[in-house]
């Protein structure tokens, strides 16, 4: 998935002689790529640079064009009070920011690890041959197909403290004695977000892992069965090592996705400090609290964090974009 192989390119049989044909293809390739690269520059490259620039200015929502460069002040600055004490200011000294960082990290770590385990279980079930396999596959595509906002609203209704079905079931089963305000209470808000996210994204994880599982030749399992090896041992010694590349790619994709989560949290638990992530905090500062420069700073910091993670992944995973992953 993270590899695009060179196979399939027309191999010219006399590479020494740069034939007219090859030059023509190279020229065409250049023209074919130009519109796409220009579009990406316009919608991604330029706005990214402007966002980073805003983080070094005193911009407000209404004064974007008269914003002035103030250096690293939005990140960290200090004031010396008349008493001689030093007061730190800026995003890096802001407890709200570190709270958002902690929420994002916690959310990403817990959701992705649970999704990986559950996704693996679902993938193992789907990899077995049984009647009704198509039905299961169709069923797990439903959470994936439902828009995030819609699933947030659906679950918000199911998790409603007064009229929600979840509290009703839990009370009937005698698991809780009092109705829980799942999305409103600070203790359970993160749990609620995790439930919805896991419900919605486990299918994606399962399908990616399933693709990896289906690459494993069946005769390996036959051989293990003939040798009388315990299935659990087969899983840890054979299946897991062989499916690891697919699993790692799925996990990386999900981690990067979880780090930027916005919509689910914005809708399911509005204004809850217990779930506010970096993206939510930055968006609010940019467009609701008129702290444009501060919001830009926070979005730039999130960008840097994700950039570092991606670089680590490409470097550690030794993904080679011109050949197989090694």
């Amino acid at each position: 998935m993270a590899t695009i192989e060179a196979a399939g390119t027309v191999a010219l049989h006399r590479p020494a002689k740069r034939s007219e044909l090859m030059l023509q293809r190279l020229a065409a390739a250049r023209w074919f790529l130009l519109p796409m690269l220009a579009a990406l520059m316009l919608v991604a490259g330029w706005p990214l640079m402007r966002s980073i620039w805003f983080s070094f200015t005193d911009a407000k929502l209404n004064t974007l064009y008269s914003a002035e460069w103030i250096g690293f002040g939005n990140y960290l600055r200090w004031q010396t009070l008349s008493s001689g004490a030093i007061r730190w200011r800026g995003v890096l000294a802001d407890p709200d920011w570190w709270n958002a960082v902690w929420n994002t990290m916690r959310f990403a770590a817990v959701s992705v690890s649970l999704e990986a385990v559950l996704g693996m279980l679902v993938a193992l079930v789907l990899n077995a041959e049984f009647k009704g396999r198509g039905l299961v596959r169709a069923a797990i595509l439903i959470p994936w197909a439902i828009p995030t906002i819609v699933s947030a609203k659906m679950w918000q209704w199911m998790l409603n403290d007064q009229f929600g079905i979840i509290n009703d079931v839990l009370i009937r089963l005698g698991l809780i004695s009092q109705k829980i305000a799942w999305t409103a209470s600070a203790d359970t808000a993160m749990t609620a977000v995790l439930i919805v996210d896991i419900w919605k994204t486990t299918p994606f994880m399962a399908l990616l892992i399933l693709a990896g599982l289906q690459m494993i030749p069946r005769d390996i399992y036959e051989a293990a069965k003939v040798d009388g090896i315990h299935p659990v041992k087969v899983f840890f010694r054979v299946t897991l090592p062989l499916v690891r590349p697919a699993l790692m790619v799925a996990i990386i994709f999900r981690v990067l996705d979880a780090m930027r989560i916005f919509d689910l949290i914005y809708v399911l638990t509005p204004n809850s400090k217990a779930t506010k992530t970096m993206s939510v905090l930055a968006q609010e500062n940019l467009f609701q609290f008129d702290n444009f420069a501060e919001g830009s700073t926070q979005s730039t910091l999130l960008f840097v964090i994700i950039l570092v993670l991606t670089t680590l992944y490409i470097w550690l995973g030794k993904v080679n974009f011109d050949g197989e992953a090694k």
């Binding site: 993270a2 695009i4 390739a29 990406l40 919608v43 402007r50 199911m158 994204t201 467009f287």
Partner: protein, 277 residues
């Protein structure tokens, strides 16, 4: 069959049932709720007991929801067509021509699709204001290109790479230029891939929330996800759950049908692109 084997089978089918139940139940419950009205809404029920179309009628006749639906359809369709148009030629170059810097371009494309959208929000806002398209559908079509384009290029490159080389060689021998090869030779073979990629990109654009929330401000220009998120009743404490569920069902049913019809293609597209919807 001995007892152990039967237990194992039973446990397996129990797992299957749990998976199906958990996947489907929330959607089932949303449909159930959407057909309740008045005080029925506030009585928990597990089976369909009442049937009323009030919520659907109110959502489709009062307010701007029909308009929001049209907005979403228009924006998602144009975004997808634009992305496919730009991606077809680009992916030919990336899949079929060997040139220096190809790896770098592919890496950039992957990096852009991994981007946190919030990182470009401030700059995009400025650009959209500058272009004078703030609070119009074009603002969203413009900004959605940031995730539909890298995705379509990436998936189409994977598909195009797998087309047999003999076809292309034969076309070259016949004197076809790269443009002819794309339009006359590859395009007819690519329809299934285009449909799959287009559908996945459509779902992405249909579901997008952050840009839609930020770049539109009036009821008439909003898309469906923002409209549903902001649906409110007469007062702040009176959330119209019935209407919200009816709206949710209206926007989800077409998607679920599409996804179930194109099941196999979607799964192959997903595994090729590694995206979340």
């Amino acid at each position: 069959m001995n007892a152990w084997a039967i237990t194992k089978r039973a446990a397996f089918y129990l797992a299957v049932l749990v998976i199906i139940f958990v996947s489907v139940f929330p959607f089932y419950y949303a449909i159930l709720t959407s057909f309740k009205s008045g005080t029925d809404l506030f009585r928990v029920s597990y089976w369909p007991e009442s049937f009323s179309l009030d919520n659907y009628i109110s959502v489709l006749s009062v307010g701007s929801f029909p308009r929001n639906l049209l907005n979403s359809i228009f924006i998602a369709s144009v975004t997808v067509l634009l992305a496919l148009f730009l991606a077809i030629t680009a992916s030919f170059a990336l899949a079929r021509v060997r040139f220096r810097g190809r790896g770098l371009i592919l890496m950039t494309i992957l990096a852009v699709s991994m981007f946190p959208q919030i990182a470009v929000l401030a700059g995009l806002f400025e650009l959209i204001r500058f272009l004078g398209i703030y609070n119009t559908p074009w603002a969203l079509i413009f900004s959605y290109t940031i995730f539909t384009l890298p995705f379509t290029v990436w998936v189409l490159t994977t598909f195009m790479r797998d087309l047999p080389i003999e076809i292309e060689e034969a076309a070259i021998v016949d004197g076809a230029t790269p443009w002819i090869i794309i339009t006359k030779v590859f395009l007819p073979l690519m329809w299934p891939a285009l449909v799959t990629t287009g559908l996945l990109a459509f779902i992405g654009a249909w579901n997008e929330f952050l840009f839609a929330l930020t770049f539109t401000v009036s009821n008439e220009t909003r898309t469906v996800p923002v409209a549903i998120a902001l649906l409110s009743g007469g007062s702040q404490f009176e959330i119209p759950w019935g209407a919200i569920m009816a709206a949710s069902v209206i926007v989800t049913v077409p998607l679920v049908i599409l996804v179930l019809v194109f099941q196999r293609k979607i799964i192959s597209g997903l595994t090729a692109g590694g995206v979340k919807g």
